[in-house]
Subunit: 320 residues, 2 copies
Amino acid sequence: MPTENRLRRAVVTGGAGAIGSELVRALLAEGAVVTVIDNLSSGRLSNLGEASGHPGFRFLQADLLEPERIRPAFKGSTELWHLAANPDIRRGTMDPRLDFDQGTRATLHVLEAARAEKVGWVGFSSSSVVYGLPSVFPTPETYGPLLPHSQYGANKLASEALLGAFCHSYGLHAAIFRFANIVGPAMSHGIIYDFLRKLEKTPERLEVLGDGRQAKSYLATTDCVSGMLLVRERGESPVGVYNLGNAEQTSTRQIAEKVVAALGGKARIETTGGERGWVGDIPRQLLATDRVRGLGWAPKLSSDAAVDRAIAELRADLGL
Amino acid sequence: MPTENRLRRAVVTGGAGAIGSELVRALLAEGAVVTVIDNLSSGRLSNLGEASGHPGFRFLQADLLEPERIRPAFKGSTELWHLAANPDIRRGTMDPRLDFDQGTRATLHVLEAARAEKVGWVGFSSSSVVYGLPSVFPTPETYGPLLPHSQYGANKLASEALLGAFCHSYGLHAAIFRFANIVGPAMSHGIIYDFLRKLEKTPERLEVLGDGRQAKSYLATTDCVSGMLLVRERGESPVGVYNLGNAEQTSTRQIAEKVVAALGGKARIETTGGERGWVGDIPRQLLATDRVRGLGWAPKLSSDAAVDRAIAELRADLGL
């Protein structure tokens, strides 16, 4: 979309989260006016750091299921980044309503607001877990059928579907990002966070869910955001799907060893066994990223390097 | 699933609809006890004909969004056929909430009931429109990415996604049927119904939305139901996706000519022009059906023959 000739005004849902706060910093640096909508259920204002004092920064603490409260933020906006979601896949499995409400229903609400206020473009954070456990690695965007294993994945796919309909029926434009495991500072969940928290409680041992051989691709938040911004400029119209991930994998055991080493190297690693860490876990993930690379994107950090940096950042965050 | 050794007890949502009523007759003929749940918003009890007097037949008039009312019907049931939906794609485009509520939300409700009552198997009526306008014809189940053009399609895909999660997280088994255009008696919408209704009002002319060159595959309700019953016995576990359609297409103009001929051949056919009949219309549809044919299924009526028979059946229905 052409954006040179007008002020960029962005709404970022989930903008106080780990990926959202990084995106907000990048948008403010571009000169955009940015309104973050976040219910602060998992995001934190402190994640935004100095950005929250920027003159172009606006903040609305609201839940996306409150249409009247969020609607004014969309007025005059040129783009919507819809990143808000329940970030905890395991928690979603315990209650199908959680991801349904904070995922699919919330997406319907923001798309209705975007449509009503004529916000031209939407970027949506989907996930590699929409693929379920695919039979093709690296997995391309054309892979199907998509049968997610978790409520989180189901509601990401449901949101993608709604985006398709809104783009084709109502003239919206959109990009759908299917993220690998994104790691960086400000995470409030995920494998590195969990390992650090476990070692804080029991420094002598680290319990690893599954056999430790789960192998997934990790991507730094900064590389994730650079990909999203590039696709906004060069992505397919009216709607395209883009995997975002690294070309290599890091195993769960490797991450456990890295975390243990970072904290002094004394803890025993104990695997609980089994291919999957938990119900709904996808033990293998590697995304084909030819599409986004074809637009000119390349990550600066490899999967291992992204994990290393995230461990250091999260240790600092948690004061460990 | 093995069913020989126990009484088959089926719940059929949307069982008073055009496909549902045909399925109910087939299940009763197999000796099953069948509970139809239908809010009669588009279905009609009269569609069930003699089936509603069968000793194995139960009927619950309820909306799927009323969890307490529908839950008792699932108790002791061995299979769920979830066919209820808003049948009118165009109406859904006018209000995104219609398909969201009657589609995705309703699916979540019935899956929660099925899970709670340990109903082992679910058959779900999805649609070819989940493919959007695909670039591959005939379109296989592996086609992706899926970006539906209509709210109807979006919510069918969202329901598929929920089924994936329920099967992989909670031990349900399921089959997802992606239907071509299904035609037969008892239809309350669709191209043949619309054409007959238009000619009833203005016998001298028949307005055709679009350029008339839309080409889709039509399948008789009876062939559709025979495919569904076969997949229930032989389908992939825990969840599989199966296209159901004919190997040929019938154009919109052909159908217009057939309907006009059936009513005496005097009406002028007038096309409104444009590739699509309406916002969200998919002008080409042809499904690859190797998967279901590989299980032993073959339709008895071709696309043209299914249309011919449906015209005769609907004329009788409507008294034209």
